[in-house]
Symmetry: C2
């Protein structure tokens, strides 16, 4: 094979059928990802220009381009144009991953019920951990959000966005980036069909619950925070399920 492999020649996997059958660009992608998992590459590391990568792989620039497009879509690299530019290993980008999950869930056609149960799983734990880990700064952010609730309570769309940000702020107060990333993806998917059946009494009730939640988190009562969030998400779930049924059965 004329192609200079990224892997060392002594690698027994180098000529596996699955590997040799793959495209050149996919092998570059694999190589970079493997290096990333093996900690041989870290965020900020420079991969070089398209030309550099092409030369290293013994392939043309298009191949390097294809690989970089894929790595970029996966959020592995960031690409800059101009002098000193090229590809670098990116820092983590939760939003990107959230979109990937959103795509997958849409393709799989998951139901509202499934979505909301998963959201309950994430958010109850987030509330619990927020009660344990929230800093003074986190609490300030949550209280700011409560003020925003009052300011936007008359505007359905704005109020919905405020509530989403509040829930995200709770997750961030848990100081668990996995939970934040997962909640972010779920919100991405469930966002469009959100602002219905939002009457004034419901809005006020939500605000009351959110207020109570902040107090409980501030008082460091993890068990109560979990229970409160559990009830809250169950209520949201009930509303969404009914919304979904009315929209599909008519």
């Amino acid at each position: 094979m004329a192609v200079i492999p990224f892997r060392k020649p002594h690698d027994p996997w180098a000529f596996e059928p699955t590997r040799s059958g793959a495209t050149l660009s996919s092998r570059i992608v694999e190589e970079v990802c493997t290096a990333l998992f093996d900690k041989r590459l870290a965020p900020g590391d420079r991969l070089g220009t398209e030309k550099d990568i092409a030369e290293q792989a013994g392939a043309s620039r298009i191949v390097a381009r294809d690989a970089l497009r894929t790595l970029q879509a996966l959020g592995v690299v960031e690409i800059k144009v101009g002098a000193g530019g090229g590809a670098r290993i990116a820092r983590g980008n939760p939003a990107l991953f959230a979109e990937a999950l959103a795509v997958q869930l849409t393709l799989a056609g998951v139901s509202v019920r499934e979505m909301m149960d998963a959201q309950r799983a994430i958010e109850t734990t987030a509330a619990e951990l927020a009660a344990e880990n929230a800093t003074a700064e986190d609490l300030a952010t949550l209280r700011e959000s409560l003020a925003e609730h009052e300011a936007t309570i008359a505007d359905d769309a704005a109020y919905t966005r405020t509530c989403m940000r509040f829930h995200l702020a709770v997750a961030e107060a848990s100081h668990n980036r996995v939970l934040v990333a997962q909640l972010l993806s779920l919100q991405h998917v469930s966002w469009p069909a959100q602002n219905r059946t939002l009457t004034a009494p419901v809005a006020r009730h939500i605000l009351d619950v959110h207020r109570e939640l902040v107090d409980v988190i501030a008082s460091r009562d993890a068990a109560v925070a979990r229970r409160l969030m559990d009830d809250h998400v169950k209520m949201i779930r009930a509303r969404r399920v009914s919304e979904d049924q009315t929209s599909t059965c008519c």
Copy 2:
């Protein structure tokens, strides 16, 4: 380019001129994703060949290629070569998404603690829902897995894989695809450093707990199933955290 703002319900992109700052390929990616979220595209739908897409976008094949590479990496399309080939909207592929999350979590450098707390969030809810929704077939699968536990209990690596499959089977018994997808990704990340501190007594204890869990799920007791799984994952968490500390502090 890979960041896709797919929430633009009232954005008629039909006559929109080139938006500065965005590449041509990124706009194709945007359009396809938007169409997907708006249900104008569904799995199996044909997007056409690279040439078709290029012509439709009024650009060259390179642009269409770049867009398809990105969409492929996101798991949105599947590409076939040969006559009648081209790009089609893919069915959901959880494995692909799991890989994407693994990359993101690696880049973000999340701690074992964060991973395990998220896993606890997912798995406790999965156990709860499994108790409510498990079919006879699900229970048979779980009992098969228990038999496999006994067969592999002497082999650390095999036993670890068996346990992972058991936990996944519980998630599948919940009939919630979101939870399955999320657990799959977490397992993908935490898989490599799994088989340490697995002594014979620990293995036996795990088997006991798994057996009890199946019984509880079979008896449809959701609350007990959740509590049991909660304790179980907390035990796993304790083991993993200690493993992590011994490996990093020395």
